[in-house]
Symmetry: C2
Subunit: 197 residues, 2 copies
Amino acid sequence: MQQDLSVLYDIFSRTQASIGGFMSILTPVITNAQTEHERLYFHHIYEEEEQRLDRLAVFLPKLAGFLEEADTADYSSTTFITLLQDINLEKFGLHNFLEHLELSLFEFQDEERAGTLQPMQETTRSDYLVVKEILTRINEEFLPQVNHVKISDTHAVQSAAHGHEHDHHHEVPSVPTASLVAARKGLSVGSLKSFRV
Amino acid sequence: MQQDLSVLYDIFSRTQASIGGFMSILTPVITNAQTEHERLYFHHIYEEEEQRLDRLAVFLPKLAGFLEEADTADYSSTTFITLLQDINLEKFGLHNFLEHLELSLFEFQDEERAGTLQPMQETTRSDYLVVKEILTRINEEFLPQVNHVKISDTHAVQSAAHGHEHDHHHEVPSVPTASLVAARKGLSVGSLKSFRV
């Protein structure tokens, strides 16, 4: 457990640093936006990351505090359950960050910005998968009620643990889009000319 | 206090219903997306609202439980402080929803969808302002440490309460965009032709 929490601490510290780099790319784009739509779009992403940055500023010291006492910590305490809920929330934060980076890479295709965002995206994807795996393991061990409820209760209890898997959607069919189908056929597909800043 | 919490309960119940309406507009757009960028963009918004829906499914019963015992509740308890943190988090959720609606209204300008989203946006904006006002009042009353710290600590403590104001940015200059300036001058400005679905 101490090992897992330590890995999580490293990952969330790393993403905290990445947010800063991402924001500094977004700031001039927002300032120089040519339309209100473009400004709102990037400002919205900026704000969501800023909210995450504020949460991490509270969460990381909490996690560090728990890590210091990991040997003697009470894993059935409210403090730990609350920490677990925070980790679940930040798992979604990391997932959303990954998608903010993916969306931005559609827009910022110049060498300088893509050169910064691409490695950030790869690290974030790999970090996200590690967080998911650790969290699945911790939730199973320390939120046993999740694993012993009847099927119909699963969603509610998982939600209670903020652990519902949003990255697997049954509601929204994940069918290949026209462009993907075309790409697979080797056709040239015009990229989305939205803001292109 | 009971009155304030009751108003918050009504607002967050209302937004819970609105998310459903918004999602049902997004679903066919995602399914029929013509490019991967378009699909990711709307799917990302869909997922963030889905995360919020899951949080609300846990938060609303907690708030209702507290309301039932509002007369005898302990407002210095960990339970209440945790509830207050949840309300702060959902204030941001409501703010982000408002911006998701604003962004969508740039895309969905047909009568049917705009006719659904426009009133939803107006209600959400008004609800958000009420939540902000109530929360400022409650935070001042029940998180007194926020009001008695030296200036340099303010950001950290506000963040701790998840109460930092993200809707007033000093980091990102809020200068008029070219299109707004042009619009004020009465020039015709081409609207953003991004996805237009």
